[in-house]
Symmetry: C2
Subunit: 433 residues, 2 copies
């Protein structure tokens, strides 16, 4: 008999079917028992009329793996309007002990560190795994939007010979007796690859040795990176980012209906276009609103981003707001200045509900501009030899952005801790499981 | 004027168009000059009738970035039957010097180390970049086949607390003062995730500190990993692998017509089903063919794989052959034995044209089997705490496989060195670019 998914049970009413999954819950009543079986997609209620069959499950710890054969029966009282009348139950794999927390409750009743310690089990909970189904939809939507627009997927090295971007926050490793480093971002490689394919993207791990112990920091995360050549300026990049976010949300909606319902998540609307404000105008606005004189401030504080987020909602009804033109010297060395006002850059942040979600911008593309910038910033040209070779041999105007997968999920789901949006988080204290 | 791709030029005959790209080649003849412009997709021939325009390009090094406006004209003599009559050329970015090798020749005339040293430039060559367009199609086809079959994409940690699989060949790193290791494979995590989603896949980097200096070894590669729950045995996994490979080749054919033509690559046929031979039968066959008594051999030597590959071609007309049932003790600790003959395993290799291409198999799924196997092999249970937790709490029969992206491309393209199929290879000697 072909196995069917629990989520397809309603389509098989009146048929003999085979379900397979985990013993999510067993409730023994006087005359009947109910088994909730969980498979990779959902759960199904199984009715055990035969006392011997039910008794046979008594000693079985939750999470044991079962095959259940029986008839799918319409039953208005059952979740989803259908249940399985079990005829035969086979134990495929017996759990060795009961879980350290109840898996059948709407949410796991345990502190986050306990859940993370027991991630192999906690991730099986429908709420937890729903988050990572959304993660998969995010990656799928990201790639689909870019493939459709002629971008080529690349895989760049994670072990690098020089700590090029911010020397302190880098993991060092022993590479056959030589020092090497874990890549903090594919930035330099994706720019090099603009010279090859013009439009590239990458989904991959990045590593940051930041010794911060906060709910927002993890030391490795999944970066969704994009770089695009032959742009006019950063507005082309912002248009690509907007389209990518739109497709990510559309893919979530298409693929993850049950997960969105379970998490009670309403996906935000992305206005077309997303409103934008220049950094200097943002400072004017903030000065007015706060009564402080913020003109000349080098950057936005988190409180300022929150105020701008509230303003975007009030003024445009938008959860999203681009802030463009951050001062050039505040951004990474490869940031392109605004040609008309070089104090300001062609970089942007995308603010979502008052918190920075994505950074990006136009990059420098002329070899001589890189040489001048590296010199001005006191950065060693020799560490950038491969990178600079691309620019020595002709690079078009280009720009890009990076979305942190876990941060995006954390913000969308309004999770209190980024670790909840990370499959097996790595932080200052945690290297396992 | 909207920019068009060189590959779309034929669709715009009679129109004024804008092309953008790199100066691939300039040929100055007495009365006319020809510019070959390369963009992210292809090349186009540009005719320069005006001597002043052509002379203006004389001092421009190859790889300078240009915008060319003019009329698309049908011209039977031109490559692709169409060329651009240039009206105006704008230099977007001037190359600082000429490339160290000619980019316009059918293949770069340089030794591999030189090409790898200059990868940011060499990868721009149409032949080189075609390989990585096939890499992108491989990843796309892999994911599409699995998403369609209900697999969920995951991202597992690349920094791990214990060197679980093969202690010697692991890169060690300093993790906030503690030792940590780079993941050699997502094997243990993808198995854990079978407990969550049943069917999972991952595309990501793996790290092997093998000090081998050969054309087949690199120290980091892209692994296409699959794991599938509720299987009957390894034959279910082999069916999934066959379907995945079929979709990879179909995606290459659909997305990479010009690249396949350029590389003169005929994609292999995948028979349905792929023929399979048991390890013990393979040894019988090899004993017959070689005259050596190979019965009782623990593994297949490369020469034996070549013979089996020739046999599969001769007997089944197939480039592919599954060998199943390798002796259990020769395989990784998590390998499931054949229940009827536990000396043999439910593991397989897929041989392609006489060389192993993919490994996979059914895994152990019972907690007590893991404890017994780890003890028998003298492996420390404590290093596997998180992994074993999954099995303590109920795991279904499952299995999977891993495809090395670069190795697959190397074999399909019959490249002499895996470095040619790796964007920025990392090996015993190479950490840059």
């Amino acid at each position: 008999m072909e196995r069917i998914w629990t989520t397809d049970l309603a389509a098989h009413v009146g048929e003999q079917v085979l379900l397979q999954g985990w013993l999510h819950r067993l409730r023994r009543l006087r005359h009947v028992s109910f088994l909730v079986l969980r498979d990779g997609r959902g759960t199904a209620q199984v009715v055990l009329d035969d006392p011997a069959t039910a008794a046979g499950l008594d000693a079985l710890p939750a999470e044991s793996v079962l095959a259940v054969m029986g008839e799918a029966v319409a039953e208005p009282q059952a979740p989803g309007g259908v249940e399985l009348r079990a005829a035969r139950i086979e134990v495929l794999s017996r759990a060795a002990e009961a879980p350290p927390f109840d898996m059948f409750r709407p949410a796991i009743r345990a502190q986050l560190p306990t859940m993370l310690d027991h991630a192999p089990l906690a991730l099986r909970h429908p709420r937890q795994r729903a988050i990572f189904r959304l993660a998969a939809a995010t990656m799928e939507g990201f790639r689909a939007a870019l493939t459709e627009r002629g971008f080529t997927e690349i895989q760049t090295p994670k072990i690098v010979g020089a700590a090029t971007e911010g020397g302190a926050n880098v993991f060092r490793l022993d590479y056959f007796g030589r020092p090497a480093y874990l890549s903090q971002s594919p930035q330099l490689y994706k720019q090099i690859m603009v010279g090859v394919f013009e439009r590239v993207f990458e989904v991959g791990p990045v590593f940051r040795a930041e010794p911060h112990d906060t709910p927002r920091h993890i030391n490795s995360f999944t970066s969704l990176d994009v770089e695009q050549g032959f742009i006019t300026d950063h507005h082309d990049v912002m248009a690509t980012l907007s389209a990518v976010l739109r497709q990510i949300l559309a893919t979530m909606a298409a693929r993850c209906g049950p997960e969105l319902a379970l998490l009670r998540l309403d996906l935000p609307e992305i206005p077309s276009p997303i409103p934008a404000i220049h950094f200097s105008a943002a400072l004017e606005l903030l000065s007015e609103r706060t009564g402080e004189d913020l003109r000349g401030a080098p950057d936005l504080a988190p409180a300022h981003e929150r105020l701008l987020g509230a303003w975007a909602r009030e003024r445009y009804g938008s959860d999203f707001l681009f802030v463009t033109g951050y001062p050039t010297e505040q951004r990474a060395f490869y940031t392109a200045p605004d040609p008309a006002r070089p104090f300001y850059s062609n970089a942007f942040d995308l603010i979502f509900r008052g918190v920075e979600l994505v950074s990006g911008g136009q990059r420098l593309h002329r070899y001589e501009d890189y040489l001048a910038t590296l010199e001005r910033r006191g950065m060693p040209v020799a560490s950038f030899a491969g990178y600079l070779e691309a620019f020595r041999h002709g690079m078009p105007p280009h720009g890009g952005f990076a979305i942190g997968l876990e941060r995006l999920l954390m913000r969308l789901l309004e999770l209190p801790n980024i670790r909840e949006a990370t499959l097996f988080p790595r932080d200052l204290h945690r290297l396992t499981p």
